[in-house]
Amino acid sequence: MIVIAAFALIPALILSGAFVYTLNKTLIEDSELQAELQAKAVGDLVVSVFDRLMEDLVDVAADHNVAQSARSGAFSGYATDLLQRRIIRSREGIGAVIFDRNLTVAEAEPVELLLNDYSIFDNQIAGFLRRNSVIKEPAPIELVYEDSEELNLEQEPGAPKDQLAFITPLHLPTLIEAPASTLTGALLVIVDRKALVENIRKDLGSAALLSIKLGGKDIFSSSKQRKDFSTFTFTEQLNTGLEISVEVGVPLEIVQNRVNETIRHLILMLCSSLLALLFLSIAVAKRLLTPFRQLSRLVARISLGEYSQSSMDVKFKEPAQLLALVNRLTSRVIEDQAELESKVMERTELLRSTNDELSDTLDQLTQLQSHLVESETNAQLGQLVAGVAHEINTPLGISLTATTTLIDDLKKIRAIFDSNKLKRSDLEKHFALSDEALTLLEYNLNRGAELVRTFKEVSVDQSSGQRREFLLKSYLEEVVASLKAETKRHNIEFRISGDDKLSIDSYPGAYSHIFSNFILNSLKHGFTEAARSYLIAISFVLDGDLLHIEYTDNGTGMSDDVLDKMFKPFFTTGRNAGCTGLGMHIVYNMVTQRLGGTIRASHNVGRGACFHLIVPLVAPEHKN
């Protein structure tokens, strides 16, 4: 049940894994994007802080009353009020000082800045005023340092290099009495870098301000390790022309944590859900399986042959339906069983009677078979006899005709002789006829004798000789040598290959007859060109208890039709050449009966003849 529930959860687990993976990927991308956006927001914040400061600085400097305040204290209230409203208020750590053209401080806001010594700026302010003696658009703003030393905002507050200052000229463009000399002084805004950065940091959130470059100068550089952050650098041009470069870092751990936390929550949630689902599945499975267990027990009982109806209370519709079906099935089984028993009895009775009939039929068939075998034997014998009769009939007929002719001629010559009218020419005719008739007799009687001998050989038992153990290869070589008288008329090469020491327990006479027949057939039917060199190859190999023997020649070979009919009795292509058509039939009988093997004829690779014999190493025993 737990396994089922667990298996049921596999798709959910796979889906959850895929979901977590995809979400993780998306969250990382999203987190990196968020980090960039966060950094961009910080960059924009810093830029806007400086932009607003620069803009306010320019606006204040453009105010005529501020410009006048560098010339007359009558404008002090105006100027300081404007400085307070536009620059000082809402900004921490910032002050503004108005210098007159003689580089003396005229006004300051907050007023305590008047207590400071600004002589350190003298050279820079003097140079700045020289460069900006005439009004320019946009109003120039320069960053001035207390000296040329590198700034470091990370040092303790209040340190001497803890301030930076921006300067812009003060002009009175509409003065009618001195249009060529409108410069009244300069406005210096002093920014406490620590306060400025701290003020910016309030709005940074988790991001870190790493460095600020203004006008190509480092005005802030954090000592924080860059490797701990995803860093982003934003470079923009302030509205007043100064270029600002802000390096912002978003802690890597925050980028990762943001993802990890979400994934952790998600995994926790998924695990909780899956666990709950698992328990729920187990509970549901348990509840669902209860009726099936009941059904299982019921089916087990049924399988043991207890077909009694179940009246158990099963929950759920489907199992109840199943139970009803099982009950119906058991009812049906009981009915069917009864019906089956009845049918079995009927069928048994029927089978018994059928069996009796079959036994009778079998007996009849056996008798019929014997009859048929006998008929077939007789038919074969008849056929054989017809063949033998046919074959022998011709020489006998010719012999009889020759004898009759000779007898008639003899009677005729005797009559002439008796009448003493015998002439030399009559005698010579008689001699000629007698000579011819006797020649015919001799030939046809020899032919008949040959046929008879052959018929005798068809009976294998009579022609295969005794059984003994012999070396196959040596024996085959002897067979080939014994045919030397027939083979010497052809240019033939014999190749006999096989294990020299292979000894077989068989009938050497059968082997001699088979291979002599093959060789003589090759000479008679295959080797038709006298001038050509021929090859006869015999090879054998042992495969377990079976001997594979192959006979091939490179003669003219045989047609497919010949191959099909080759082993049938009296089939010959050389009837006119005195062939009986029994040679290969005898071979077939010897291989299959005497040697207990098989023979197959085929085309050789070079379209010669090929015979493949498979015979047992030990020939079967035969009754004499």
Binding site: N65, R71, G73, A74, Y78, V105, A108, V111, L175, I176
Partner: protein, 397 residues
């Protein structure tokens, strides 16, 4: 022939423009109390002379800067009615010298002194005094304090009545002067600025002690010394003579005036000056000379000076009218205190030094009162910046 005709037409046009311009005089003034007077007198002046008087009030702190700016852009007024210490900036203001004797005839010598710098007269005083007085509300004060110690001793009693002891404008330098003079401090001495003197610093230290003692709210503005006093939020206030009439009218029988109390046996001596007609942008030497002369003479008429006096409370600068009014108020204890205080004032010199001193003082007092600098540093600071301002003024000349 055609060129002559063109010149003729151009001359006519210029004459017309000049006439049109001359037919209107623009007057900027600082004393808000004078507004209804100028509104009334403008009608009267127009009826008599056909000259329109366009008057514009400006707050004290803005007026001088506005005039300098206006003059620099040729948009300044023809006439300014302002404290005579403006003359200290006569170079920037381009004030016309008043060399017509008939315009200053009969004016009190002290008033004339307030508009004379290095022998040159730069204005026509209409009102004289402009000094600080100790006003009190009789509802809270039965007998005004004559010494600062006495004043402080009344604090508990007065605060027990649900009000505060005293108000003044702590960051206004004009109000600081009596505290300085009580210790013999003087902002200027001839052509020298004398802010970083022991006397001056002593007075300044005393001044801050009062603030530290919680006697005065540092954020007090003119509302404290006028509106809040009239509302009964303060038993005493130190304010100028220009508020006399309005406060008297508001408080009625509760209105009381006293001489500023002495400090450690020394008088608190306020400054005195005049409120004068001045002519920025050298307007008196310009095309409106005649109209300006007519207006000055119109304003110097006794009835018009009395009108100004009645509206503000400040005394006219003309000797004859002044004497008549002094006689008239001989039975008025408040006005007696008024005149008594007048006798215990120091004239405010209309010099660049004084103007520069005001600038330096404002800076030094600010840092000192806000405890951003020590007394010595504050003294140095105000001296340095006053001298720098003076140098700028002198360069402007």
């Amino acid at each position: 022939m055609k060129f002559n005709q063109f010149l003729c037409a151009l001359s006519c046009l210029l004459l017309f423009i000049t006439a049109a311009k001359a037919a209107t005089l623009e007057l900027w003034f600082e004393k808000y109390e004078a507004k209804p007077v100028f509104d009334d007198l403008a009608i009267k002046f127009q009826q008599e002379t056909g000259i329109n008087l366009k008057s514009q009030h400006m707050p004290t702190g803005d007026l001088k800067a506005a005039i300098i700016q206006g003059v620099s852009e040729d948009k300044g007024p023809d006439i300014v009615f302002a404290p005579s210490d403006f003359i200290g900036n006569h170079a920037l203001l381009k004030l016309s010298e008043v060399d017509q004797v008939e315009l200053t005839k009969g004016i009190k010598p002290e008033a004339m002194a307030s508009v004379t710098e290095k022998g040159s007269v730069y204005g026509v005083p209409l009102l004289f005094g402009n000094h600080l007085l100790l006003y009190y509300n009789k509802r809270f004060v039965e007998s005004p304090a004559t010494t600062w110690q006495e004043l402080l001793s009344q604090r508990k009693d007065i605060e027990g009545k649900g009000t505060n002891l005293i108000s003044w404008k702590p960051m206004e330098m004009y109000w600081l002067i009596p505290f300085l003079t009580a210790f013999d401090g003087r902002p200027v001495d001839g052509d020298k600025v004398t802010l970083n003197t022991p006397e001056f610093k002593k007075g300044l230290a005393f001044y801050r002690e009062q603030v530290d003692a919680g006697l005065i709210n540092m954020r007090c503005s003119y509302e404290c010394v006028y509106d809040h006093f009239l509302q009964g939020q303060y038993a005493y206030t130190i304010n100028g003579d220009w508020a006399y009439r309005a406060m008297k009218a508001s408080l009625g029988d509760d209105f009381g005036v006293a001489v500023l109390p002495s400090v450690e046996g020394r008088d608190m001596t306020p400054m005195t000056s005049s409120i004068a007609l001045m002519f920025p942008g050298n307007s008196l030497g310009g095309e409106a000379n005649k109209q300006i002369n007519m207006f000055v003479q119109f304003m110097l008429r006794p009835e018009n000076l009395i009108h100004l006096h009645e509206m503000s409370g400040m005394m006219p600068s003309q000797s004859e009218t002044y004497d008549e009014l002094e006689q008239k108020y001989s039975a008025d204890p408040n006005m007696q205190a008024f005149f008594q205080q007048m006798k215990h004032t120091i004239p405010m010199p209309p010099t660049p030094q004084m103007s520069a001193a005001w600038i330096g003082m404002a800076k030094g007092v600010s840092v000192y009162m806000r405890k951003k600098a020590s007394l010595d540093d504050s003294g140095k600071l105000m001296q340095v910046h006053a001298e720098r301002e003076l140098a700028r003024q002198l360069r402007a000349e």
